[in-house]
Symmetry: C2
Subunit: 339 residues, 2 copies
């Protein structure tokens, strides 16, 4: 059973994989590029993954067989396990708990070589519909406090299989960085009686120097204090905290936004590796000992982080970043890309 | 002039290099391995660096000429600039300030090929004496709030020159992660009336399952909630907050500790790339609007982070880590290495 361990100084939880522990020699092994034949995410290889949790399928096709467009399966090497009870124990002065949680893989397309920015609006729409369905389902599990949805594109960005996929991790705790963001948004709301993200959207529309792309429902921009070169945030213009409250009509508009934004990135930076993360509202959110709602304060969004620079030691250790590209210049390069 | 920009949600400051902004094409350029001939840190090439700030030199040698053992110079491409006044301005709803600060390079040895774990006790002692002297000097500058001392070993770890060196950045702000650690240590002290780091040392000496190396003055161990495989913290057993209060007698003991710890890492993991960071007390520390002393609460230490795994998207974005190696197992491997 994996463990969650808590740092006694700053209170950060870490997942320790106790089962498949990596020894010194294991770090020398490099990942090879997977081929269609052996790829567990390719159509026809459905038996190579654990049984599917959800799929968009053609009529008359069967679960765990071909005929799907998007397929959600449990991670074969999960960081957390879904079965079991939460058990919290002390180890001397330290705290740990069972690594209970869900770890799922969203296989975005049956096509082994298609990258996300090449998807059709229809295909991209199905991916985000699958996210919504999984979030709605997992939020019913009372053991979970936060659900992370993210994508690692490319080996440098942490992807161990090249077939396009995203991942979901449901956690029994709220990660420290997420807590900080929620608390920051709450404080801003208490002070201004306005959502900080709505204010940021208005400010970006006003200054017009960091916008990458905008459509009827969404805006993409390089944030003012970008940590990384060509960092992009995508936000719905309508205020709502939880991604799963997106309407069926809004999903294709988001699909258009993502195709354009990722497409511009791919042209400007020659298919960079990247991560993105969907920051949605927490399942349950406790602050200073009270359960609280943050529907007014928080505003879901997607953070896209191209992996262009190497994080140096002090950035890792301090969370303090040096960004060698001015966000306004990054936005200008991206805006000028015609797809 | 570089800029410091503040994230309006979580309050994180970022350095934006406005001067040598990197365009899309610049990210394709890879660093070549530097040779002795062209290396600005090699003996005989002293004119290739900005004029030295400090050096340990043989008698009768002259500044900016050969004959040195450790040499400190300004970074040729500084992330922050030492000249100028602090200017804080708003940009719409956002906040920024001038990028005032110091960015220095500690060239640890004249020998191009020597790695830190291969240093003699005498050489390592001089490196830490140089750190102490630079910290003492820079702490006099009233513009600075925090001084970071760190080392990037290897290209993957962010080093752009292979000649062994460490770096120092003096900042007009305290990085968010450092603030959290200081606040965490303060809270623990308020609750227990004891230093959390002293308690951790006692706990490690008691459990004896995560210790890597111990000598008369220092202890090295894999922390209970290690973020990374083979992460190691080195702490003085004597309680004091600020590194520069180390005594002349303690420095060679620290040198022995670092040679052994880095030596074990290098054998166990076949010369891994790594970062380390010296976490010392802040120059000036304000909490909830009050200047406060943390001499009792904080305890300087060194965090060593081998770069064995790639940070995946959700680790970057959430500060929430999955560590594939159990800290107790990592410690056992390291402890068993005989140098």
């Amino acid at each position: 059973m994996p463990e969650l361990r808590k740092d006694p100084i700053i209170g950060r939880w870490v997942i320790i994989s106790t089962e498949r522990s990596r020894r010194p020699i294991d770090f020398a092994v490099s990942h090879g590029k997977s081929s269609t034949k052996s790829c567990p995410f390719c159509e026809g290889n459905e038996r190579k993954t654990p049984p599917e949790i959800f799929a968009f399928r053609s009529p008359h096709s069967y679960p765990n067989e071909s005929g799907w467009q998007v397929r959600v399966v449990p991670n074969k090497f999960p960081a957390l396990r879904i079965e079991g009870d939460m058990e919290k124990v002390g180890v001397g002065m330290y705290d740990k708990m069972n690594g209970i949680g869900a770890h799922e893989v969203i296989i975005e397309t049956p096509d082994h070589d298609k990258r996300m920015h090449e998807y059709s609006v229809d295909c991209m729409t199905k991916v985000f519909e699958a996210y919504k369905i999984r979030l709605q389902d997992l939020k019913q599990d009372m053991r979970f406090k936060y659900i992370l949805l993210f994508k690692n594109e490319g080996e440098l960005a942490g992807a161990s299989l090249s077939h396009s996929h995203s991942q979901l991790i449901a956690l029994p705790i709220t990660p420290k960085r997420v807590c900080e963001e929620l608390a920051g948004a709450q404080e801003y709301f208490q002070y201004k009686d306005r959502c900080v993200y709505c204010d940021i959207i208005r400010e970006e529309q006003n200054q017009r120097v960091r916008i990458v792309y905008e459509n009827a429902g969404f805006i993409a921009f390089c944030p003012f204090a970008s940590r990384f070169p060509f960092e992009i945030w995508v936000m719905p213009k309508r205020h709502y905290a939880d991604f799963e409250n997106i309407t069926p009509e809004e999903i294709p508009v988001l699909a258009d936004m993502m195709i354009n934004t990722l497409g511009k990135l791919s042209v400007a930076l020659n298919n960079p590796q990247y991560n993105f993360m969907l920051r949605t509202g927490p399942v349950r959110w406790m602050r200073s000992g009270y359960w609280t709602t943050i529907d007014q304060d928080f505003h879901w969004h997607i953070e896209i982080m191209p992996r262009l620079t190497r994080l140096a030691g002090f950035e890792w250790g301090t969370g303090f970043y040096i960004n060698p590209t001015v966000p306004e210049e990054a936005a200008r390069y991206l805006q000028e890309v015609v797809l």
